[in-house]
Amino acid sequence: MEDLIGKTITSTVGNLIPFYLYEAEQETYPYAVYYYTPDFYSTKDGVYKISADVTLQVYSQDFDEAYSYAEQIRTALEQGMNTSRFRTRMSATSKECVEGVWNVEYVYNIIQLI
């Protein structure tokens, strides 16, 4: 069973905002990054589920812009990744400003089924 969580997140929200894994490749605001560590669950016959707490951070020099993108991403994920293959639920959120750059962070629990 292949981990499709990252690929599917990217295809679902990658057209909304410059979107990267772990860190931005260009320092042009706004942008978003995501990262996660998958946990694999198995029966004796093989993997049947992959679960991951996915951290998704939106960076912008304007809070309203960062928050708006974070909400657009949330809507896209909840609509596009609640299917027969994926279950997505937001589990935590935080917001902080460091040296004038806002980081709006949402954490999702995403489960990929067979």
């Binding site: 198995s42 029966t43 004796k44 016959d45 049947y48 589920k49």
Partner: protein, 140 residues
């Protein structure tokens, strides 16, 4: 030393594994008769008259199989087995690691339970007890 990985050990009913299987437990409990006479000078004697052999299997509730998965029992088939009575309740089993000897014989279901909550996959536990003679041989 090569320890056997758990997923290599298969408990089968009628040649089929239980679908969604996550754990198979085998328990062999000797039936022991204890005796003591005055001549034993206080030392008890133990005589094994037989064994009680049970299996406890756990897995995910799976209602339908993928195409081509003909070697597994679905949840409905397991429940039907648990509801059987009389001679229909006696089923043939095998229990074997990836190699080595196989334990085989007949068994009956002694318990079936399902567990479901609002977060995780539904799971089942089904318990078996052997009936009649058992064989412990290397399959040809």
């Amino acid at each position: 030393m090569a320890a056997e990985l758990g997923y290599n050990i298969a408990f089968k009913i009628g040649g089929k594994t239980l679908t969604g299987r996550t754990q198979d437990d085998l328990t062999i409990t000797p039936t022991i008769k204890e005796s003591i006479t005055k001549d034993d000078a206080g030392n008890k004697n133990q005589q094994v008259s037989g064994q009680e052999v049970t299996f406890s299997c756990q897995g995910l509730v799976v209602l339908s199989l993928a195409s081509g998965e003909t070697n597994k029992l679905t949840r409905d088939e397991i429940v039907e087995m648990a509801l059987a009575t009389g001679s229909s309740a006696v089923v043939a089993f095998t229990y074997r690691p990836s190699s080595g000897k196989q334990l085989s014989g007949n068994c009956v279901v002694t318990g079936y339970s399902e567990s479901s909550n609002s977060e995780d996959e539904a799971t089942y536990t089904v318990d078996f007890k052997t009936t009649g003679a058992l064989t412990f041989t290397t399959p040809v």
